[in-house]
């Protein structure tokens, strides 16, 4: 009995500072959708392509981190004020760099990511065409 009381006392001691240090998410639109469904859909589309800065594998649409709540509220309020999603993305990229966006941009650093697949496709097309040409030519030769 005594031991149980000690345990309870210890538990309440541990719990007290945890309660005192609760982080409050007070941003108005962190968990509230916009009334206009079209605007909310626009905001949702943008939120799914923005990185949560604390839990970096998640988008801010998926994350329960308070800073993600702040970012969602920022996105929704700016969309409601008539700002375009790409302008909001640009505003965040100016502050946090490309890292904050999941939608890759073509820059002097990233252009090979877009160019190499296209170049490989073209190369494959040229090689295959040559091979198919030869194949049909051979068949034509066999027929004759």
């Amino acid at each position: 009995m005594n031991r149980l009381l000690t345990c309870l006392a210890a538990a309440s001691l541990l719990a007290a500072p945890a309660l005192a240090q609760q982080e409050e998410s007070t941003a108005p639109y962190a968990y509230r959708q916009l009334d206009d469904p079209a605007a909310e859909a626009k905001a949702q589309g943008l939120m799914e392509t923005l990185r949560c800065l604390q839990c970096q594998g998640q988008s801010i649409a998926d994350s329960d981190a308070p800073i993600a709540g702040s970012m969602r509220s920022l996105v929704r309020e700016r969309i409601a004020a008539g700002e375009s999603p790409e302008a909001i993305r640009g505003w965040l990229i100016r502050r946090y760099g490309d890292y904050v966006s999941y939608a890759p941009r073509v820059t002097s650093l990233t252009w090979p990511l877009f160019a190499v697949p296209a170049a490989l496709m073209l190369l494959a097309f040229l090689l295959l065409r040559k091979r198919f040409r030869r194949g049909t030519a051979d068949m034509a030769g066999d027929d004759a």
């Binding site: 240090q21 409050e24 760099g97």
Partner: protein, 185 residues
Amino acid sequence: MTPPQDSPQVGRWAIWLPLALFVGFAALAAFMLRHPADNTVDSKLVGQPVPQFDLPPALPGRPGLDSRVLGNGKVHLVNIFASWCVPCGVEAPQLQALARAGVPIEGISVRDTTEALNQFLDRNGDPYQRIGADDDGKVQLALGSSGVPETFVVDGEGIIRYQHIGEIRPEQLDMILAKVREAQQ
């Protein structure tokens, strides 16, 4: 028509190529796993003017934080903190030392309550000239800050000169003071 024949010498070596590639890949993976990537997100606003904001007071009877205070000719430290943030308590003695050294420290308390903030300051001391309440975290985002604590050195012109991510540890005090002196020039 006979298929083109590789010379046996080349063939014998080529057979090891996939294994060599695999070993190289495994070595790279092992190396990268032992050296995890640095995931700190630093503000791109260093070297640029501090964004404009006007935060209401976080504590009754104390001034809030208007960005016009920054850029009044003096170098300021802008400390982003919160009562719920454990490392913020860890850096408190260092902030006290900086305040004693005559550096004005302006606080931005993020997503906090008056009651919790008062408890935090009672516990850790209060080095702040002003504390603005950033309840929805907008000013934190405007500054390009991705967490707490963070400390910005803002020069007399209102230009952000340095961003310190994480708590200021005792051994970093001299470095911060050097950044402040640098910003004074």
